[in-house]
């Protein structure tokens, strides 16, 4: 595999590196040539990201996975803006795996971490601007005119004399030109698409008519469907398998033991599932046979009590002598991602390579893994990215992709591996459980003077297999949301204790460490405010003097929610503000609590500062979506263990927020000229503490353990 050297200059590397918060853009090469030769021959390839047909239809080729976050609309918008394209003629196409589509933030082709717009904001605009310059040059050539006398508008190059040529008419000529080395990007004030509402998603029609193809919708000739009986206890192994009854099920073709478990391969899902149900397996449950949620809680709590590696230290927490001390322990459970589309992958291992069809967030890593599993070169692994029926981080994990490939290799046939909902819920890669112990101190006047936090949780960095704990022993994801505590405490101390109960496979879950840590921190800040006898909003504000963007989001949310104004009887407010993934999000929840303790969330008002926006409509929907995701987990979400086995299995016991519980949601965007932040995740963390704080306001009962409806 040949790759081009990075073209970023040394100076640029260090310069961009210095501005850490905006996300790094390293090694972006604007490819002049493209390897997407299989595409329609008549269409002119302007660059790897863009094709223009003779009829002026513009196809943007997107290497990022569409999982609902709107990236298949946002990325084309970035290109279309600088290209001055006619949006009604823009289509999007999913790219295969190719160097040209490496995520600038990850250095590998993958989608996650709310990086899409942050990483592609400049590269995609440059691609659009380069294409525009080439189209102008082609027009100038045709007219034997000066390029400086040409402008562009809605898919046309227009000469000052009034002559016009459509992009389609110019595409073939333009594609033969050398891309410009330097391009000038528009001043944001000139934007006609970016930051403006009203641009429709490109995937809506397909998704409203049943035509959108997800991983599960792939059918190949001769394909077998596989369902795996996984060990009921993590780390367990099958010691004996009786598959006589399974093989008697009509449609069952093969039973295969693989490291993941016992696989039943059949003509379709139903036969495979019946076949699996008929398996008689004796399991050796291994070391986790006695794993229980009580034991896990105890281990984490003891870890938090003992403390560990120092993550941050300011002032002198030992010497501080507060007049009033507040202490609390918070706990959050393991969580399953529970994407609507159960996990799956279709793989076909042939002599000369592997082809897979999957809704995956990590094409790049999958290519590397599958080349090893199948014993072929990475270039012989073809990945067809389908629409993702939800991702939330779960589809970053390689387990279904590996399973399908191994089974295809063994059977010699195309295999679609399908996780039942139960397999999906019990399929690990969970958001880790976590316990944090806080200590806060106030001086005699109620001013905050001390803050300590001891976090105990499993390490996602180690579990990811592609990162490792840094030398200081502090897992970045374990402490994010607490270590970066924005409040101005003169004495602050944070420790991290790595605990791995059962060595369970933990993973990235929408907003990752913030998903629990922001609940912990923003609830505890509320406790401190209460102890100080201060209003929770004002207390936060007073401690955010050095954090203008936290403060800005907080103030906008409070203003829009009319913080301080009376609400109907029984309805109370809670507030929280969180920075994550390059964006600031504050939320105010309005909650009432029934006599039996059941909370109803009536309204959530969110204010988000995500820098410049690409598509404000999508931003608002993503924040709302993230609120629902976070609220669902806050109210119901928990994966628990008894005798080593996960107790939840499907939506009846791993509950989802439904239409009748959906609050009103209002999202306001802080106007900004700053670099864009992430948007898929930043709405998730603040909702749990905002709701829990509102419940405290309503009842005086402090929620210190999630879920709220335990």
């Amino acid at each position: 595999m040949r790759a081009k050297p990075a073209n970023t200059s040394r100076r640029e590397f260090l310069k961009t590196s210095a501005m850490a918060s905006g996300g790094l853009i390293i090694g972006f090469t604007l490819p002049g040539a493209t390897r997407l030769a299989q595409a329609a021959a008549k269409e002119a390839h302007i660059n790897a990201y863009l094709r223009i047909a003779p009829n002026s239809a513009i196809t943007v080729v997107c290497g990022l996975s569409e999982m609902g976050q709107g990236v298949h609309t946002a990325i084309p918008m970035l290109i279309a803006e600088e290209l001055d394209a006619d949006w009604s003629r823009v289509r999007v196409e999913q790219a295969g795996v190719d160097k040209a589509f490496v995520n600038p933030i990850f250095g590998i082709q993958a989608t996650g971490g709310s990086t899409a717009v942050r990483g592609h904001w400049e590269p995609m605009r440059k691609a659009g601007a380069a294409a525009r310059a080439m189209l102008i040059a082609a027009a100038a050539q045709s007219w034997k005119a000066d390029a400086a006398d040409c402008r562009t508008e809605k898919g046309m190059v227009i000469h000052k004399s009034g002559k016009k040529l459509s992009y389609g008419a110019l595409a073939e000529k333009a594609a033969k030109l050398t891309p410009p080395k330097e391009v000038k990007l528009k001043d944001p004030a000139q934007f006609t698409l970016l930051g403006k509402s009203g641009t429709k998603r490109l995937d809506t029609a397909a998704k409203s008519t049943g035509k959108a193809k997800y991983g599960l919708d792939v059918y190949l000739p001769g394909m077998l469907t596989a369902v795996i009986a996984h060990p009921p206890v993590p780390g367990g192994k099958a010691v004996s398998v009786n598959d006589a009854k399974t093989k008697a099920v009509p449609g069952v073709r093969q039973v295969v033991q693989i490291p993941a478990g016992v696989a039943v391969l059949a003509d379709g899902y139903w036969a495979a599932k019946l076949g699996r149900d008929a398996l008689e397996i004796q399991w050796d449950h291994g070391a986790n046979a006695t794993l229980s949620s009580e034991g896990i809680s105890k281990q984490l709590s003891e870890g938090a009590a003992a403390g560990g590696a120092v993550g941050r230290n300011e002032g002198d927490f030992k010497a501080a002598k507060p007049a009033k001390v507040i202490e609390a322990e918070y706990e959050a459970p393991y969580l399953s991602h529970s994407c609507m589309e159960p996990l799956n992958c279709t793989a076909w291992v042939k002599k000369d390579g592997v082809e897979i069809w999957a809704g995956t967030q990590s094409q790049g890593p999958a290519q590397g893994i599958l080349s090893q599993v199948a014993g072929v070169q990475p270039g012989q692994v073809k990945i067809n990215t389908m629409y993702l029926g939800g991702g939330f981080g779960r589809r970053f994990a390689p387990d279904p992709v590996i399973g399908a490939t191994v089974l295809s290799k063994i059977t010699g046939k195309p295999v679609k591996l399908v996780y039942s909902r139960e397999d999906d819920t019990r399929g690990y890669f969970y958001r880790p459980a976590s316990v944090t112990r806080f200590k806060g101190g106030l001086d005699a006047n109620g001013n905050a003077m001390l803050f300590t936090a001891n976090v105990a949780s499993p390490s996602i960095m180690e579990a990811s297999h592609f990162m490792k704990l840094p030398p200081d022993g502090v897992d970045e994801f374990g402490v994010e949301g607490i270590r970066d505590c924005p409040y101005d405490f003169p004495n602050l101390h944070i420790e991290y204790s790595r605990q791995e109960p059962g060595n369970l496979q933990v993973w990235f879950w929408r907003s990752v460490g913030h998903s629990q840590n922001s609940f912990f921190l923003e609830s505890f800040i509320d406790e401190m405010a209460h102890a100080a006898g201060k209003d929770p909003f004002e207390f936060r504000r007073s401690l955010l003097g050095k954090q203008p963007r936290h403060k800005g989001a907080l103030e906008l949310a409070a203003e829009k929610a009319e913080w301080g104004k009376p609400l109907p009887a029984g309805v109370h407010r809670g507030i929280a503000v969180v920075f994550s993934f390059g964006s600031w999000c504050a939320e105010v929840a309005e909650v009432s609590v029934a006599a039996d303790g059941t909370p109803t969330v009536h309204r959530v008002v969110a204010a988000v500062d995500c820098g410049m926006t690409v598509n404000p409509d999508i931003v608002k929907r993503q924040i709302e979506s993230a609120i629902v995701y976070g609220l669902t987990a806050a109210l119901y979400g928990k994966i628990t263990f008894k005798d080593g086995q996960v107790q939840q299995s499907n939506f009846h016991d791993y509950r989802m927020l439904r239409m009748n519980q959906m609050p009103k949601v209002e999202v306001y965007i802080v106007p900004s000229k700053e670099a864009p932040g992430g948007i898929g995740e930043p709405g998730t963390p603040a909702v749990a503490p905002a709701v829990a704080n509102a419940i405290f306001a309503a009842t005086g009962k402090r929620i210190r353990k999630l879920p709220i409806l335990a």
Binding site: P259, G368, I369, Q372, V373, G375, V406, K409, K468, P471
Partner: protein
């Protein structure tokens, strides 16, 4: 773990003496999968410490970005005759040692 350490036998006090060491170790990245889809766990020599006459003179913290069978060449300043001793430990807590005597003339 087999290793080979090379240090000159003699040196004059004050000389910068070259130490070369190669250790047989896969420096397993943790990114490799076998044909059944099992990941080979990461196993790297993460720390190597060189002591000269019992005093630490060099330390390397390494990861999977160092090639298999790690090779290091570095220097130490000759003081008194003594052992040059390298000790290392990998992710599975397997440690190794290699040493060589250095005689120093004034």
């Amino acid at each position: 773990m087999t290793a080979r350490i090379q240090v000159p036998q003699r040196a004059r006090r004050g000389d910068a003496v070259e130490v070369r060491i190669v250790i047989q170790h896969p420096m397993e990245t943790g990114f490799r999968y076998d044909s059944l889809g099992r990941r080979t766990p990461r196993n790297v020599i993460h720390t190597l410490v060189c002591r000269y006459g019992g005093v630490e003179v060099f330390r390397a913290e390494m990861g999977a970005g160092i090639a298999a069978n790690p090779f290091l060449r570095f220097f130490l300043r000759a003081r008194d005759s003594g052992d040059v001793e390298c000790r290392w430990v990998d992710s599975e807590n397997v440690s190794g040692v290699a040493s060589s005597r250095l005689s120093v003339a004034a």
